[in-house]
């Protein structure tokens, strides 16, 4: 590197640039949070959804599935699963019917032994997530 570009200049770009873009990031984040009420389907959040999110978390569903494309890639996307299955009842029936010992040679979802209330919560939670404005993602119903 040429002598005209000194260490001091590099340092100033580091401090100035980082600070500027950090502040810009905070500003954009602030704007995002203020725009979310129109996008994030918060009106659909009920006590059942709250329970559902807890059930979702304490059974580590994200360890196999994706939710809005984030998580593990071992099992299907669930952000649009209520639409894909046609109804919350179908989603609940699927979760309930998982064999405890698995399926020979195949991937299988564990049997979590959820109560009716917990099952309903998970289904309500997934339906709520399905109502978030995701800029039309995923591309099709298969997720």
């Amino acid at each position: 590197m040429k002598e005209t570009f000194t260490k001091g200049m590099a340092r100033n770009i580091y401090y100035g640039g980082s600070l500027f873009f950090l502040l810009l990031f905070f500003a954009l984040s602030f704007d995002t949070v203020s725009e979310l009420p129109d996008r994030d389907n918060r009106a659909a959040i009920t006590e059942s959804v709250e329970l559902g999110k807890k059930v979702w978390e304490v059974n580590n569903c994200i360890g196999c599935h994706t939710l809005l494309g984030e998580g593990a890639y071992f099992a299907p996307e669930l952000g649009n699963v209520v639409k894909r299955y046609g109804s919350k009842a179908a989603v609940k029936a699927f979760i309930m019917s998982r064999p405890a010992a698995g399926v020979p040679g195949r991937r299988s979802m564990p049997q979590f032994g959820l109560s009716e209330e917990e099952l309903q919560g998970v289904a309500d939670f997934l339906e709520y997530v399905g109502g978030i404005n995701t800029e039309n993602w995923p591309p099709n119903i298969q997720g």
Binding site: M1, S29, L68, G102, T134
Partner: protein, 458 residues
């Protein structure tokens, strides 16, 4: 070794390597579960294996970073560590807490672990990479703060160099952004939005500062190039990192409910993210070419060059591959993401930790460098692990391209599991590459036990 207290790093490095082995064993297990779905089911279901795989990675890299800091900070600051006893105490606390957490994952169902650790008091569990019980997270904060205090006091009361200031900035950022792990609202969009403040601002932000500082330190030592030159490069690299990487967080905000303008911000800025990695590659090769001494530790030089190249490929090129929003619309959450994740973590963070271990371990064991036999064996492990990781990445990329086409792009999209069956061959090939990686890792460990009888002539 210039200062006695640097030797605490040895503990941290040994633990890091041990946990690395665990991580890879679970990785190979998961790889098998991809093709033999019922393997170990229901005893170790995939989600548990994955949690162990990713959490062990995070914990051992943190051990590696801490060890690196304890090794290089006294030498840079030209004084003993502020409180070596605290470093030793925190080591044992972190190791026991980490081991207990992993055993918790394996021995009881996750929901039971949540109950046992009173997750309801402050629910933070069950989110990707942040699966640790809340109590473990509190422990991580305590360990991180004690560590920062210890390293910070050493830096502030000693000689301050660019390397230590940058390292300290990165480590402080690591601790600060981790605090967002405690924010877990019911609102999924808010949850995801701030979850990335931990995950992205770690791996595409402050961790790169840590990586840059460690690489700069090792290059100063093995090349003997003037510190002024190396520090200027370091500033340029981390400036580019943060200028591109902070707004680059936006590439995670395309499809999770955030406003559409993130598609512009995220695409443009994350398209710049490969640049700092490219500069890092130029930096490493330039410094080695301009070296003023022939350091007898050849294999440490190999790791230093390797980490720069592989970080550029994995984080830079494979990141760019799917970062533009029109592309990401189809690739988001597929095996393409997995391919990128594997090579990026290996290239940037696994390899930088192995670089500083390779440089400092022989010194802590009382020699400038290992003998030729040991070095050659370590070089073999370098190539086996690195080449097999390239293949893991290529096979997952192949799987990902097919998955995207069959499931998302073709006129007749197929269901997830139908597609998974069709791309099984790629998962088998990935598994074979994974086993070769494991062999490379075994060789790596064996290289520590080669008898040091033949003296190295520098």
């Amino acid at each position: 070794m210039k200062y006695q207290s640097q030797s605490v790093a040895k503990l941290y490095f040994i633990a890091a390597i041990g946990l690395f082995v665990g991580q890879i064993l679970f990785g190979v297990t998961m790889g098998l579960q991809y093709v033999m779905g019922d393997f170990l089911f229901p005893y170790i279901p995939f989600n548990v294996a994955r949690m162990v795989h990713t959490n062990l990675l995070i914990v051992w890299l943190l051990f590696g970073f801490m060890g690196a800091a304890y090794y290089l900070v006294p030498e840079e600051a030209e004084r003993e560590l502020y409180a070596p006893w605290l470093a030793k105490l925190m080591f044992w606390i972190f190791l026991v807490a980490g081991a207990a957490t992993i055993l918790g994952y394996l021995l009881v169902p996750y929901a039971e672990l949540a109950k046992l650790t009173m997750n309801d008091l402050l629910p933070t569990m069950g989110r990707e990479f942040l699966e640790q019980p809340t109590i473990t997270k509190v422990g991580i904060v305590i360990v991180a703060l004690s560590f920062l205090f210890n390293v910070g006091m050493t830096v502030l009361t000693g000689r301050k160099t660019v390397v230590t200031i940058v390292l300290l900035t990165g480590l402080t950022g690591l601790a600060v952004f981790f605090l967002f792990a405690f924010y877990n609202p019911v609102n999924v969009v808010l949850d995801k939005f701030f979850w990335w403040w931990v995950v992205h601002l770690w791996v595409e932000g402050v961790w790169e500062l840590i990586m840059g500082a460690i690489l700069a330190f090792v290059l100063i030592k093995i090349t003997g190039v003037d510190r002024e030159v190396i520090e200027k490069w370091l500033y340029i690299i981390i400036a580019l990192t943060l200028i591109s990487g902070i707004i680059g967080t936006g590439h995670h905000y395309f499809w999770i409910g955030a406003p559409g303008y993130w598609q512009w911000f995220g695409s443009i800025f994350s398209a710049l993210e490969p640049i700092p990695f490219f500069v890092m590659t130029l930096f490493a090769f330039n410094m080695v070419n301009k070296r003023r001494r022939e350091h007898p530790n050849k294999v440490a030089t190999l790791w230093a060059l390797g980490t720069a190249v592989m970080a550029f490929l994995g984080a830079g090129v494979w990141g760019f591959l799917h970062t533009l929003s029109p592309v990401n619309y189809y690739t988001h959450g597929t095996q393409i993401t997995a391919a990128h994740g594997h090579m990026a973590f290996y290239g940037a963070y696994v390899m930088i930790v192995l670089t500083i271990i390779s440089y400092s371990m022989p010194i802590m064991r009382g020699r400038t460098a290992n003998g030729p036999k040991s070095q050659v064996m370590e070089m073999w492990s370098f190539w086996l692990m690195t080449v097999s990781m390239v293949f893991i990445t290529l096979f997952l990329t192949g799987a990902g391209i097919l998955q995207v086409y069959l499931q998302r792009y073709s006129d007749t999209p197929l269901g997830f599991m139908v597609v998974q069956d069709k791309i099984e061959l790629f998962y088998w090939l990935r598994e074979i590459a994974g086993v070769i990686f494991l062999i490379g890792l075994i060789l790596y460990i064996m290289s520590f036990f080669v008898k040091h009888d033949d003296e190295v002539t520098a």
